[in-house]
């Protein structure tokens, strides 16, 4: 069961911000300090800064996501060699690792108990093994690289297999085509949801009054897609 935590609740009051001269929460101190240092010196932000930056959301989230990608990019080469897979596959597995890690950071599944570096190493290693497994079982075409196991985590073990089979029976090509025709706003909102953005963040981005409005809009998009899907069968 995934426990979704509100990152804002974990923010502690921090010391005086050197650049703003006021008392600010830690993540703001980190963000301003880090952004200034990174801009001036071209240094890598620390893992703590990256996690705080991604959790804070808003416009800086993408910035820190890119920094996270850059920071451990060196893994691609060693992954390719250690697992004996093509560098291109290792590179895609690495991108997938970063997106998974970002989602785990935003949803609270990454709780910071282990170091971010160790966490990324572990996920990347599993993704590389997945590449080999999917190659040998020829399931690459159906689901490409997205892990069904991850999506099914909240479901009890006994029902996971049945659901996985039902998912495999869906016309994934058709869903992809319909998503391209569903309308720009729906596409954007559903994409944000799939990336782990909360309804609160979606509401902020689109000026909805409440999180509930964001959820209703998102689910209407999903229902619209479902109707289109059924009509096309």
């Amino acid at each position: 069961m995934i426990i979704f935590q509100d990152s804002a609740k974990r923010v502690k009051k921090g010391p005086v911000n050197l650049f703003l001269g006021k008392k600010y929460p830690y993540f703001l101190l980190d963000f301003h300090s880090t952004l200034l240092l990174v801009t001036i010196f071209g240094t890598q932000p620390s893992d703590q800064d990256i996690v705080a930056g991604i959790r804070t959301g808003g416009s800086q989230r993408r910035y820190f996501e890119n920094k996270l990608y850059d920071k451990y990019r060196y893994l691609i080469r060693s992954g390719s060699r250690n697992h004996k897979i093509e560098e291109e596959d290792a590179s895609m597995a690495y991108s997938d690792t970063i997106l998974t890690t970002i989602e785990h950071i935003t949803t609270g599944r990454f709780e910071g108990r282990s170091e971010l570096k160790t966490y990324i190493h572990q996920i990347f290693s599993n993704k590389c093994v997945d590449v080999i497994r999917k190659r040998t079982t020829n399931t690459m075409q159906a689901f490409q690289r997205v892990s069904l196991d991850d999506l099914l985590i909240p479901v009890p073990d006994l029902q996971q297999t049945a659901l996985a089979n039902l998912i495999r029976q869906q016309d994934h090509q058709r869903i992809r085509q319909l998503l391209a025709r569903i309308g720009e706003r729906c596409q954007e909102i559903l994409t944000l949801w799939s990336e782990g953005f909360s309804d609160r963040e979606i509401a902020l981005q689109y000026n909805y009054n409440t999180d509930g409005v964001a959820q209703t809009t998102r689910l209407r998009c999903l229902e619209k897609l479902r109707v289109m899907y059924k009509a096309s069968q």
């Binding site: 069961m1 995934i2 426990i3 979704f4 001036i40 010196f41 071209g42 240094t43 890598q44 890119n66 990608y69 850059d70 990019r73 060196y74 893994l75 060693s78 060699r81 250690n82 590179s91 895609m92 991108s95 997938d96 970063i98 997106l99 570096k117 689901f143 490409q144 690289r145 997205v146 069904l148 999506l151 099914l152 909240p154 479901v155 009890p156 006994l158 029902q159 049945a162 659901l163 039902l166 998912i167 029976q169 869906q170 994934h172 869903i175 992809r176 998503l179 559903l190 994409t191 949801w193 799939s194 990336e195 959820q215 998102r218 689910l219 999903l222 229902e223 897609l225 479902r226 899907y229």
Partner: protein, 230 residues
């Protein structure tokens, strides 16, 4: 219907509702179909997003011109003068971390020599690749017999490095570095790793700079690491 499904997957149902949902899911085929569609859509979106972000990340990095690296280096140097005090906290931890990850990722597995007629070397490599450095060490030591040009000598140094015998490893790597007959000389780079593990960051940095200046093996990671800690 999607509201309950969404609340279930977003962890917003109460314990009772959660349990009731799972019970219904096990019995109701229509609900299971909707859940499958919900998750399939999410999977399709994730896949599309992965393709998009991967293309962005790889395009940006491959298109990044070299001069930007120089520009960021110069900017870093200027910035360093302006508020050097801010950087009084040592940044060598990052460099040591890089070395640790490099050793863990790149040096825990030696390439097997399929064409080698030397069974002993292969045995040593097998020991090494199974983290049995203590067993591998005497084999490499015997095969190399102090010859810096021998592959076994490099492996002997790496086994010493893994065993945390840094001084012994450094002695071997420095001899390797001084050997002009080695075509791809990793001695200096490995010595830098050993110095980093030993805690002598200044010497390690000097060696890494020499690796870059002399275009030796290990130049690419050395550049990456030094750029990072600037």
């Amino acid at each position: 219907m999607y509201e309950t499904i969404d609340d279930y997957f977003e962890g917003r149902l109460s314990a009772t509702e959660h349990e009731a949902f799972e019970r219904k899911l096990a019995q109701d085929k229509a609900l299971a179909d909707e859940v499958a569609f919900y998750l399939s859509t999410k999977a399709a979106l994730k896949e599309a997003n992965l393709q998009k972000r991967h293309a962005e990340w790889t395009r940006q990095r491959s298109a990044q011109p070299l001069r930007w690296q120089w520009a960021s280096g110069i900017a870093a140097a200027i910035g360093l003068l302006v508020v050097a005090w801010y950087f009084m906290t040592p940044s060598n931890l990052t460099l040591q971390e890089y070395a640790e990850v490099y050793i863990e990722e790149d040096l825990t597995r030696l390439n097997t020599h399929m064409d080698t007629a030397n069974d002993s070397l292969q045995t040593g490599i097998d020991y090494y690749n199974h983290q049995k450095y203590q067993e591998a060490l005497p084999i490499f030591n015997r095969l190399a017999a102090g010859n810096p040009s021998a592959k076994a000598y490099e492996y002997e140094g790496l086994a010493q490095l893994q065993l945390k015998n840094y001084d012994a490893a450094i002695a071997i790597f420095e001899q390797m570095a001084a050997d002009s007959e080695l075509l791809e000389n990793r001695g200096k780079f490995y010595a830098a790793l050993a110095y980093l593990k030993k805690g002598d960051t200044d010497t390690a940095q000097r060696l890494l700079k020499e690796v870059i200046a002399q275009n030796l093996a290990g130049k690419a990671p050395a550049e990456q690491w030094l750029n990072t800690i600037k």
